[in-house]
């Protein structure tokens, strides 16, 4: 092997343009004749539209066109993931239209659009549109929305129920509770989050009347899927007449997976005005209203345990808030991606989970980083601490007693959590949980916790230590499982890769996956360089354009490193095999006699008889004298479906200090030991963990969308919604264990979401631990100073 780049901390090839201001994000694109679109959004959370008067807007300066819902013949947006599960499919589907026609279901739903020469003119004209509203009563709380007398959003969804879903062994769980020595119960609110990538969403639609073709630039994680959905479900425009391009994407975290109304709107608008390109870029305030939110569960959890701390059963009832209408895969998140990993790394045999998906007058809820798995981890990790507290056993010890032993794998959950509705199964592929726990406890100085608490108390600080021993499901796939109707998309989830080695020996790799900051161009190049023995600087990795890249499902669910790399490896293997056959021809040897050593293809036993892959590419691409039946060019495409998901795991330890006088919570240390298998680029892996941890800490300490009872988003700007700041966070202390995944040929698992899956629960457990001297056994996130101070005062009052 001439290169040793796989597993190396290599600087990213993406960075030179980004550090010099030469990136090209959606809003950086200017096209000739381009005009600008702005959307009028509902000021009411629930209202009927009696009429819309756009006459004044149409004659405003610079206005090119005004649209309302009745102008647009496209279908509503598609629902790609109805919920299934043990109780069967019962989905009362209501999807957004491109612009609302008869009613609105949340503040921010689009009702009209203006196209004008400048952004300012479009925004000015919006103020001239007069909508005759009939306000209706609203409901924003998922549990309250299902109660008798609650305002009703949709005729086809009595009591605002989208679906009732369940998973697990109900009878076994009931029996375990009947025989339990100890039972703990708690109501948990998993707070609603606004993903807030630093680049907002936007689209440019361009209809070319000369070709009858549409090009849509979109800040998206899934350009191929959007082309499919826009063609087949929304617009009816043939798929081959649509091209979707994602330029540089400034973060996404799930929020840019989905099919949004604005994508179709810019298509409609560009055609309607004769083919001028139409740009729409949301304001940050719009982000808060019209891009998906995440989480928002109300959960009742019960855990049954023995007096020794063995958890024998978990029973969970969750109300999942899905918003006023559904987003593309909204129902899939609190079902398959949540209920099926509720047992965590633990050997509990009995689990039963019921989920009610609920409409409320709020922004739609869909996949935000972790998507279902952070919510599940929060439930089971809080439950483990509640059991520990109830029994007076150390939380680390409770976890240790419940871990699946390392000889358990592949592990099929006995409660049936991992069996899809069509009977196909996945397994927990690998695990070795205790070494990660031991290492993290040692790093955090866990044994000295009591002394640290005493020392902090002397400073007026309440110190708390919290654990999260999480598992993750990565690499959303395999198709037979996630493709089962009622389990997943009802579609496959493989990935694709094409490799071309051109005449000059330079390599172009095209992928169906779609980065948003993860460094795919670097990591794929490391893999291809390693596999083919070609220097990284001779390899370019391309993506994000439906013209010129193979169809792929995009990047989310930490699937690229498992599924995408599988495709790249297969394509490289095909290249090697074709090169071997042509080398045999060039060297007048049998293909089986050619041995491959990096870039060199040589005849066994004859070290002088050798051709490099660059020489082979030159000859084969020109096809000077290709043997009969061999096609020219080193050009191979591969599709890869993974046989199973991968299951990273680890232990995170958060140490917080609470100012007893003010209730201010400070995260003072954060230790994370993660096992994500083999690493393609450890520097990038660390970066993914850092970012994920920060987002999960944000949920625990600061973030959370707040709606008034009548459905106004009260903290709908970055002035009001607290994203983590540098001065609020400590440096993160990372380490690893390495348990290679048997599922992926490289032994990698995926790391994009692990940080935030683990960290929310770790911080929550630390805060509750710090407050435990007051008899506080639970508080709902986020742990703002006001809330914590209030809880301390209430507890003190109670003691007095």
């Amino acid at each position: 092997m001439t290169t040793d780049v796989l597993g190396a901390r290599i600087k990213r090839v993406e960075d030179p343009k980004l550090i010099t201001g030469k990136g090209r994000y959606l809003d950086d694109i200017k096209l000739p004749g381009m005009v600008h679109l702005a959307i009028l959004r509902s000021p009411y959370a629930h209202a009927n539209i009696r009429s819309i008067d756009t006459s004044a807007a149409r004659t405003a300066p610079g206005v090119v066109a005004v649209f309302t819902g009745s102008d647009i013949t496209y279908n509503p947006l598609p629902m790609a993931w109805p919920a299934g599960g043990a109780s069967g499919i019962q989905n009362n589907i209501n999807m957004p239209r491109v612009l609302a026609t008869d009613s609105v279901k949340w503040t921010g739903e689009g009702v009209a659009a203006v196209v004008a020469e400048t952004v300012a003119q479009a925004q000015d004209a919006l103020e001239l549109i007069n909508v005759d509203w009939e306000p209706l009563p609203a409901v924003v709380d998922a549990e309250k929305a299902t109660q008798p007398g609650a305002p009703q959003l949709h005729e086809n969804a009595p009591n605002n129920v989208v679906f009732e879903w369940s998973v697990g062994n109900k009878d076994g769980t009931a029996a375990a509770f009947a025989n339990a020595e100890v039972i703990v119960r708690q109501r948990l609110v998993n707070n609603r989050l606004v993903p807030n990538p630093m680049e907002v969403r936007g689209d440019i639609g361009w209809y070319n009347p000369g070709t009858d073709e549409y090009t849509i630039w979109m800040s998206s994680q899934t350009p191929h899927i959007q082309r499919l959905l826009l063609a087949a479900f929304v617009t009816g425009i043939p798929e081959h007449k649509i091209r979707c391009i994602s330029p540089d994407v400034g973060g996404a975290f799930g929020s840019k997976i989905f099919c949004y109304a604005d994508m179709a709107l810019v298509m409609h608008a560009s055609k309607a005005i004769g083919g001028r390109p139409v740009k729409w870029v949301e304001s940050r305030r719009e982000t808060f209203q019209s891009t998906i939110h995440g989480r928002d569960h109300i959960t009742y959890v019960e855990a049954a345990a023995t007096k020794d701390g063995e958890v024998t059963a978990l029973r969970v009832k969750t109300y999942a808030n899905l918003g006023g209408r559904l987003s593309t895969i909204g129902p899939g998140i609190p079902t398959t991606l949540y209920g099926r990993i509720l047992s965590g790394p633990y050997k509990m045999k009995n689990v039963h989970c019921e989920v009610t998906g609920v409409y409320t007058n709020t922004t739609f809820v869909d996949a935000y980083r972790g998507a279902g798995r952070p919510e599940a981890t929060y439930v089971v990790e809080r439950a483990m601490d509640l059991v520990a507290d109830e029994l007076g056993i150390d939380p680390a010890e409770v976890r240790r007693r419940n871990f699946l032993p390392p000889d358990s794998f592949p592990y099929d959950n006995p409660a049936g959590l991992l069996t899809a509705v069509n009977g196909s199964k996945i397994y927990v592929d690998s695990g070795n949980y205790e070494p990660a726990l031991d290492k993290a406890l040692a790093m955090a100085g866990y044994a000295d916790t009591a002394a640290k608490k005493t020392e902090a108390k002397a400073r007026g600080r309440l110190l708390g230590v919290g654990l999260s021993t999480y598992i993750e499901v990565c690499g959303v796939a395999p198709s037979k499982w996630i493709g089962a109707v009622g389990e997943g998309w009802g579609a496959a989830m493989w990935e694709s890769s094409n490799i071309k080695i051109h005449l000059t020996g330079k390599v172009v790799v095209t992928m169906g996956t779609q980065p948003q900051g993860q460094g795919h161009e670097t990591t794929y190049a490391q893999i291809i360089s390693h596999e083919l023995g070609i220097p990284m600087e001779d390899i370019v990795v391309q993506h994000s354009d439906t013209q010129g890249t193979p169809f792929g499902y995009g990047s989310y669910g930490s699937r690229t490193s498992n599924v995408g790399t599988g495709a790249a490896l297969k394509a490289a293997a095909k290249i090697r095999e074709k090169a071997r056959r042509y080398a045999a021809h060039m060297l007048e040897a049998a293909p089986d006699d050619i041995e491959v050593d990096g870039a060199n293809y040589r005849v066994k036993g004859s070290p002088d008889k050798v051709k490099t892959i660059q020489e082979i590419a030159f000859a084969l691409d020109l096809a000077f004298d290709a043997p009969e039946g061999m096609e020219p060019y080193l050009d191979e495409t591969a599709y890869h479906d993974t046989p199973n998901c991968t299951f990273p795991f680890g232990t995170h330890v958060a140490i917080v200090e609470i100012d007893e006088e003010t209730g201010v919570v400070a995260l003072v240390r954060y230790v994370a030991v993660d096992d994500v298998g083999k690493k393609i680029n450890p520097m990038i892996v660390d970066g993914q963990l850092h970012g994920g941890i920060a987002q999960g800490v944000g949920q625990a300490l600061w973030e959370g969308a707040i709606y008034s009872d009548d459905g106004q988003l009260l903290n709908g700007s970055l002035l009001d919604y607290a994203l983590p700041r540098a001065s609020w966070l400590p440096a993160f202390e990372l380490d690893e264990t390495v348990t290679p995944s048997p599922v992926n040929p490289l032994g990698v698992k995926g790391v994009g979401e692990a940080g935030c899956i683990a960290s929310t629960a770790a911080v929550a457990n630390a805060v509750i631990d710090a407050l435990s001297p007051f008899g506080i056994r639970h508080l709902d996130m986020p742990y703002t100073a006001q809330k914590v101070w209030g809880a301390i005062q209430a507890a003190k009052g109670g003691q007095a």
Binding site: P16, T20, G21, G23, P197, M198, A694, S727, W728, P730
Partner: protein, 172 residues
């Protein structure tokens, strides 16, 4: 609509633009001067993605009208360095994996440059406070802090030694 004539020195070049009075400096930088490395990430002056230098000081270019910058010298990320001559901060962000999606990076670098100009050897705590007006959603700030520290060291002429990331809270 009334147009104002604004004269600027941008990245060392003399520029003149006619702008509506209501136009923000960031809009003029991006749309009239085509310097799209300066980004817009919010509408409440919270995120810092639009940070540039105005007469040598870091400012959020969404907080001022272009007309208010008349007669001033503006430096954007494009003026900090190019691939042949990277600014030490640009180089350190690259070396230390101080960016992922890259959207906050130009503003982050401009803010950090202002810090180092006034404090050649900032502590991690000082770095974290200096960039708290700039939001990053990808990195958790960890490697940004490392990058700024390393850049400061390089700009001091390599004096001192690189240290491991601090293990305790910035605010502690």
């Amino acid at each position: 609509m009334t147009q104002l004539h604004v004269v600027l020195e941008v990245n060392g070049e003399h520029r003149e633009v006619d702008v509506e009075p209501r136009r923000l400096l960031v809009e003029v930088i991006r749309e009239e001067l085509n310097l799209t490395g300066t980004h817009i990430g919010c509408d409440t002056s919270q995120c810092g993605a639009c940070t540039v230098h105005l007469d040598g000081r870091a400012v959020k270019s969404c907080t001022m009208l272009a007309a208010q910058a008349d007669g001033s010298a503006v430096t954007t990320i494009e003026g900090m360095g190019d691939l042949g001559h990277l600014h030490p901060l640009q180089n350190a962000f690259w070396e230390q994996h101080g960016l992922q999606c890259g959207f906050c990076t130009p503003g982050m670098i401009m803010a950090a440059a202002d810090l180092i100009k006034n404090n050649a050897d900032p502590s991690d705590t000082e770095i974290r406070h200096a960039i708290e007006g700039n939001i990053c959603r990808c990195t958790g700030y960890h490697n940004i802090v490392v990058a700024v520290r390393e850049a400061a060291r390089a700009m001091r002429g390599g004096a001192g030694t690189a240290t491991a990331p601090a293990a305790t809270a910035a605010q502690a």
